[in-house]
Amino acid sequence: MKEDDILIQLNKLKDIEPDAEWKKRNRELLYSQVSAQADEGARIGWFKVFERQLSIFTLRVSQPAMTVMLIIVFIFGGGILSLRAARDTAPGDSMYIAKILGEKTQYALTFDVKKKAQLGLEFAGNRVKEINKVLTQNESGDKTETVARLKEDFKKELSGVKDRVAKINEEQKISVKDAPAADENKEEVSGQEELSTENTEEGEDVQLFSAAFERDDRGVQVSESEPIPFPAAAGEGDNEPATGTNLLEAEGPATTSEAAANSTSSAEVVEKSAVPNPEEALYQAGELLSQEDYSATLNKLDEAGEAIDQVNKEEGEVLGAEEVVENNTASTTAN
């Protein structure tokens, strides 16, 4: 008889079973004995039963899900905790490498150029803080080398930011060029200026106060509105505005004082648009670091950050402000 045959025969021995009658009888007997013992113990309340059922349900349904979740929580939680722990480290600390890795990862996972530039500034700031920390540490050791290395890293970060700022500026220029509607509107405005000059020459009492510019997707446009009659308070009698000026008159202040106010607000916009040049701020930050003025370097980096932040945000406003200034100049000329 071969081994396989033996195994088959052995498997057939499974047919050996106890008597069904005995099984039943013994089951009842066992149940009564078990019940008697169980009754002696603590009785289980409804809450306990519910808790048990819930546990069984949890065990049955969510065991793999829970395992996966725990792994995810462990990985992410561990990563976040180690990054938090490494936040205030300096070169030489055991967790410093985790900080650098975290920065690199953050950098790699950011795709927006502007955000990357901001991150670069943040990391450059970190290097400055680290230099400060290294210098204030009482430990003996060669600080010069570490500081030099950190300065080198700072410069690398800074040059990266400069590249990105240049890229942002280029993109901005391209987007301005791509708006032909804006040029058309400029022409329209200059046409209106000519018209107003003619009107003035004709001796008509027309004042140009302001034009409301709106910038939509196509660029800058002059918004037309109902002509506002020149007020009698101006002391010119019942002069009616010339029809030719209707185009130039937009909703806006009707008095010279309001015009002045308008020009003030335009100046504010212009002032607002006069944010520090990021490239200049970055250059200054580099210079300040060379002079070992670390707190000033940090401030300059903050300024550069703000400037970069405003590049896209103010892009439209800045352009609009330029147009307003031009228009104001035109209206002054007309006056």
Binding site: K2, I6, Q9, I16, L30, Q37
Partner: protein, 206 residues
């Protein structure tokens, strides 16, 4: 361990008597078969099986189930120790040494010999009879592995051996059984001689 067994195990940890009765239904046949092949007597097998479950329940009540990875391994261990106890008691009664190979105990119970009552074909009869001729150690691994289909790991846990030892034991057991079946001198009417060498009891952790 199947998910059903896992749930059962968890419920038993909570001393759920209903779960214990479910476990009884699930494992009774296997435990009975295991015991039966070790004692070759229907009534004794029934008694020991019954005691096995009761004793296991006592272990559960005493929170000792947590020491075992599966309920199955606890049941087999309890059954195995009860069989050993049974043979020790028998040996005291008969005042005979079970270690004497030239003087084996002959247990003949024509009335209750289940194997003889079963309508088995020739080969199966032969294998069943030869099972009683091999060493008890071999017999129990064969029953656990090839009849009750326990994994090597489970057998290792029950016997407190490592898996390599269990594999070697299985190989030798199967080889011995094959050699015995290859011999033609098989007499189906011959009484079954059980050479029961009483091993040490497996310590059940408490």
């Amino acid at each position: 361990m199947s998910s059903k067994e896992k749930i059962l195990y968890y419920r038993l940890k909570q001393k759920d008597k209903e779960a214990f009765i479910e476990a009884y239904d699930l494992f009774l046949d296997n435990i009975y078969r295991f015991v039966f092949f070790k004692v070759s007597n229907k009534e004794t097998a029934e008694d020991i099986t019954s005691q096995t479950f009761l004793k296991t329940w006592n272990y559960i009540q005493n929170n000792e189930l947590t020491d075992y990875k599966t309920l199955r391994s606890l049941l087999y261990k309890v059954a195995r120790n009860l069989v050993i106890d049974h043979y020790r008691q028998e040996s005291r009664k008969q005042e005979l040494s079970l270690d004497q190979e030239d003087n084996p105990i002959t247990i003949v119970d024509d009335k209750q010999d289940l194997l003889k009552k079963m309508e088995l074909d020739g080969d199966l009869k032969m294998v069943a009879a030869k099972m009683n001729e091999i060493k008890d150690e071999y017999r129990e691994v064969i029953i656990m592995r090839y009849v009750n289909e326990l994994s090597v790991a489970e057998i290792a846990r029950i016997l407190d051996k490592n898996q390599g030892n269990v594999r070697v034991l299985l190989y030798r057991a199967l080889k011995t059984l094959r050699e015995l079946t290859e011999k033609s001198g098989y007499n189906p009417n011959a009484p079954i001689n059980i050479k029961q060498d009483v091993p040490d009891k497996i310590k059940i952790r408490s």
